[in-house]
Symmetry: C2
Subunit: 252 residues, 2 copies
């Protein structure tokens, strides 16, 4: 029962994922979780396990990742935030806020929904300001109406095996996609998705497929066939990591 | 009369200014103009002078800088764009478009207006995704209404000496500020300005002063006193370069 006696803190986290091998700690590789755990070790002198609300791949960014930690002793949440940000000074990771939570709270298992956005820039010229922060889709202008039509097939509860990475560890390929909106402004497309949870690479594989729809390479109807095939080889390629932003995690 | 016989091309340019010592060429320092001139030299084999529509300081970004070049021989504008972007591959500079123009066109002297935006992020936590791309203003929330009130004093035609950098080379300190809008969304403030031309550091000095108004350190009325003083030491500090974006140049 030791864990129940340790004060738990929830953190909201922003990061630029460009120079990290993703969220999850790995020996000898820079990771977001690893950097935050190291900061906690410097702050507390102990090994502290940081539990993230969702894993992100190498190069994926976050505006609102959530994680929790258990500390040996109660500590002012603002002091935790200040200290961890201090030790993260050389990292492109920022603790946006910290708060004490019940020990029943779990960053991953208490989550009721997650939201992501994906940014496509549809132009010929290379990206200067948004390199590694958007997917540059050159050539033909994407047809947003077709993409929205194709997106409809993905909404609701489905077996998303066709959009699932080979290494995905989820128990089931069945997920419920609550929202998939596509907004466009100038040469910029922003795709917003919301679901309780996603399969590994699901968002990037859906985006890669909708991009083919937007280019006119496949019809919107074909998205349904891909979904029904439950076959990863039928869907489009995985969209690049740099365009993906983990926006938020919802809790009851 | 040689210049009149050379075909002239206008370019629209985007750059991340973080790693450059500003627009203007300097010996032994990385500059935007220097990088583009070097790319033209590799493309044409000749020394080509790139004339910018406006100078930007070290760390200032551009979404729509304009420049022109004179080439020895006519060339397909799209080929120029492709070639220069190829030679700029390792730079965070992108030629967005290229077009042939009359030799009466001059990127700087033909300009009828220029627009900039300045981004402030008003929160406690350090910037992860927008480091060098916004000004992090910590502490008290900025009062936007007061800032808008203070901004009114700057609109119109004035002697802007109080907002002018010591090294400014403009012939006159009298400028006409056509627009100064402040938009706010969450913790982000976007200040948009438009004028035929600006003094050196004028935008950043106006922003630095309005930030003091937003913090309640000076009243909106005090902005008028600062302007009338024509004394640089009366205005606020120069806002950091990374928050400033050169948006566009207008031509008749």
């Amino acid at each position: 029962m030791k864990a129940a006696l340790m004060p738990r803190y929830k953190m909201l986290i922003e990061y630029d994922g460009t120079n990290y091998c993703g969220w999850q700690s790995q020996p000898d590789e820079p990771t977001i979780q690893g950097a935050i755990e190291k900061a906690f070790e410097r702050f507390t002198g102990n090994n502290i396990s940081v539990q993230g609300g969702g894993r992100t791949d190498a190069g994926v960014h976050a505006l609102g990742q959530v994680a929790h930690v258990d500390l040996d002793h109660p500590c002012d949440p603002f002091v935790i935030q200040q200290a961890i940000n201090h030790y993260l000074k050389k990292d492109s990771i920022s603790i946006l806020s910290t708060q004490a939570v019940e020990d029943s709270f779990h960053a991953r298992f208490s989550a009721t929904y997650r939201t992501y956005r994906y940014i496509i820039i549809n132009r010929y010229a290379p990206l200067a300001l948004e390199e590694n922060r958007a997917w540059l889709v050159r050539g033909t202008p994407l047809n947003i109406d077709l993409m929205r039509e194709g997106a409809k097939a993905l909404l609701g509860t489905h077996d998303f095996s066709a959009f699932r990475a080979a290494g995905c560890q989820a128990a089931s390929p069945i997920k419920t996609l609550d929202v998939l909106d596509i907004a466009s402004k100038g040469d910029r497309l922003t795709i917003f998705v919301k679901a309780r949870s996603f399969l590994h690479h699901q968002v990037r594989n859906m985006v890669g497929t909708l991009k083919l729809v937007g280019m006119g390479k496949i019809t919107p109807d074909h998205v349904t066939s891909i979904l029904l095939s439950q076959d990863r080889t039928k869907a489009g390629p995985t969209a690049p990591a740099g365009g993906l932003y983990f926006l938020s995690i919802g809790y009851d």
